[in-house]
Symmetry: C2
Subunit: 214 residues, 2 copies
């Protein structure tokens, strides 16, 4: 198909399609004659995946390229697809304090979790602990331990979703990458709803419905 | 204290402090003589809160201003502090499809959750469902129902943390706002660790340790 059809089918502008090709996110189409390029179904589905990672996952172009490369390379084991996707969705903030890092590692050890030194979750949780200390609200740090078991339940379900396609490496790799990148958004969205529900049905003084949006 | 001392105590540059005053995030210091301004402890603690919301929570300056105003205004009920903080941490993406919105609302109804129409979590979860459909991976939509119960457990714990300071409205408001804004980062960080643990201890073909970071 021509670029105009690819654009209308995916809702991605021709300019963006060309941009993704230049950025190395989308394979170039096939040249068919003077100043014409043909695209196929693989381009359409890849465009949807690119937009999911960029727009909903919030990944940078470079991070998206790394995740797509990990999905595409059949020699890359699933564990490395996972770590690539995790690095891609993790922001790098200020270096956390040694004390906060030690506290996160203690949680990991206490729970018997197998976690590499390079896992970006360690620094991310430590950064939050440092922020609590900064505003003199160390009492909020209990959140770390409180969230651990529900999050482990979530991770177990994630793995079951991956294992549903056992034997199909490419599909499993996509599940790992997409689940990691878009699962955060799903979690955060559900948390907004659950928070309102709990606050309005059991909340001390927090029982007012949310004001209508302007 | 002078701005130089406020800067060295908080780790925030003088230029940033002046910027936050201009942006309406930080109250101006007291003019004490020609070209000199005095700051006090309230400025130091407010600066830590601003950085927590901006840098770790990922809020925009406008969203941070709205959250701080909600914390500061004692006439604002906690339910509205919550909805202000929720709106502040929610990105506005493409308008979700009616089908995806209906699916999220069905989950809310099935579980008996009390959730307002304007809750930003509805659109956020619907956007993720649309992305799954876009990449022809509707099988991943089970994530919505699978995450609901663990997230409800998390929200109940969040409310208990707020209720720990029952009677102290200002502290409860801060807990609601900070917990909402920084809780997402904590959840995501823990998820990275739990995912690696589950993948390495039970994963089919995903048992390799993450490669060392360069």
């Amino acid at each position: 198909m021509r670029i105009a059809e690819l654009s209308s089918r995916t809702g991605v502008t021709s300019a963006s399609i060309k941009h993704y090709v230049r950025e190395g996110l989308l394979p170039a189409g096939e040249r068919v004659g003077y100043n014409q390029t043909a695209y196929d179904e693989t381009h359409a589905s890849r465009l949807h995946l690119i937009r999911a990672l960029l727009d909903t996952g919030g990944l940078s172009a470079a991070a998206t390229r790394a995740v797509l490369a990990a999905i595409d390379d059949r020699d890359v084991p699933l564990g490395h697809v996972l770590s690539t996707a995790q690095d891609a969705v993790s922001r790098r903030g200020a270096a956390p304090s040694p004390g906060a890092l030690a506290r996160v590692r203690a949680l990991v050890d206490d729970r018997g979790w197998t976690v590499s030194e390079g896992n970006p979750g360690i620094a991310q949780c430590a950064e939050v602990l440092d922020r609590f200390a900064g505003i003199e609200r160390d009492d909020l740090a209990g959140m770390l331990d409180r969230y651990a078991q529900p999050v482990l339940d979530i991770a177990r379900g994630d793995l079951d979703a991956v294992a549903a396609d056992l034997g199909d490496r490419d599909r499993m790799a996509e599940t790992v990458a997409v689940g990691t990148a878009l699962g955060d958004a799903m979690l955060a969205g559900l948390r907004r709803m659950a928070q309102e529900h709990v606050a309005r049905t059991a909340g001390p003084g927090a029982d007012a419905p949310r004001p209508r949006q302007p």
